[in-house]
C-alpha cells in the first residue's frame, strides 16, 4: 500500500486529506500522478498541470521522477508559506 496525503489548498480542492492505494502499479511519483489525474479536472489541474506542485516521499522533498515502493508515504501540497 501507499499512504497518500494532501495538504492546505490541495486538501480543500481535492476534498480529502489522505487515502491508501495499492502500490503495485505505481513505480514512480509520475505514474501515480497520471493515475490520480484520471479522477477528474480538479485532480488533473492540481497534480498534472501545476508547476507549483510540491511532492514529498517519506518526509523528504521529492520529484515526479522519484520511484515508489510499497509502504511509501507520498504527500502533495502547494509551495510552503510558514514562518
Amino acid at each position: 500500500m501507499l499512504d497518500i496525503y494532501y495538504f492546505a489548498s490541495f486538501r480543500e480542492i481535492l476534498g480529502q486529506s489522505d487515502e491508501q492505494l495499492e502500490a503495485t502499479q505505481y513505480t514512480t511519483v509520475s505514474t501515480l500522478i497520471e493515475s490520480l489525474a484520471t479522477r477528474g479536472e480538479q485532480w488533473q489541474q492540481a497534480l498534472l498541470n501545476n508547476t507549483n506542485l510540491q511532492i514529498a516521499v517519506n518526509h523528504d522533498i521529492a520529484s515526479r521522477q522519484t520511484s515508489l515502493k510499497p509502504g511509501d508515504e507520498i504527500a502533495f501540497f502547494p509551495p510552503v508559506t510558514g514562518g
Partner: protein
C-alpha cells in the same frame, strides 16, 4: 524527544524562557540572536482577523531539524532552537522563533537569518487567512522568499 531543539506546538512561547534554555549548559556564549515572526494585522492591503497554520506532522520536524543542523555545519554555533506554532492565531501573536547562540555575533546573525530563509521555503507549513467578513484565503508563496533562500547558495565562504 526526537528533536529537542525543534518544537512544533499550538501553545505560545515565552522568549526569555526559551533563550535561557538555549543558553543553559553551553559555555563561551557571547552572542544570542533571535528572530520572532508575528501575525501581521495587514497582508497585501487586507485586514486579517485570524491566521491558521497547517503543517505536515512528521515531515515538519524533520525539515526543521535538517535546516538547523545545516546551520551548525556552516557556522560555529553553540546552540540553536526553532519553535513553530500551528493552529489558529490572532494578529500580533507570535508564530515562530529561531534563536542561535555563538561566541561572536557574526555567526549568530548569519545563522539565524539562514535558518529563517530556509524555513520559509522548505518547512511544510501553510498559512490561511480569515478576513473580517469571514472569507478565507490561502497565503501565496512569495517570490522574494525563494530569492532569499537562493542568496545563501551563492555565498561560498560564510563567515565563521
Amino acid at each position: 524527544m526526537k528533536y529537542p531543539f525543534v518544537k512544533v506546538q499550538k501553545e505560545d512561547f515565552d522568549l526569555s524562557t526559551e533563550i535561557k534554555a538555549l543558553r543553559t549548559g553551553h559555555k563561551d556564549i557571547g552572542a544570542v540572536v533571535s528572530f520572532v515572526g508575528t501575525v501581521r494585522d495587514i497582508n497585501e492591503g487586507d485586514d486579517i482577523s485570524v491566521l491558521e497554520l497547517e503543517h505536515y506532522p512528521g515531515m515538519t520536524e524533520k525539515a526543521l531539524e535538517e535546516i538547523r543542523l545545516e546551520a551548525h555545519k556552516r557556522w560555529s554555533l553553540q546552540s540553536s532552537l526553532i519553535i513553530h506554532r500551528i493552529g489558529e492565531m490572532q494578529p500580533c501573536d507570535q508564530i515562530v522563533l529561531v534563536a542561535v547562540s555563538s561566541r561572536h555575533r557574526e555567526a549568530a546573525f548569519e545563522a539565524a537569518h539562514y535558518i529563517m530563509d530556509y524555513l520559509k521555503t522548505n518547512a511544510p507549513f501553510w498559512k490561511k487567512e480569515t478576513f473580517p467578513d469571514g472569507s478565507t484565503r490561502w497565503v501565496d508563496a512569495r517570490v522574494s522568499d525563494k530569492e532569499a533562500e537562493n542568496r545563501w547558495q551563492k555565498s561560498a565562504s560564510p563567515t565563521q
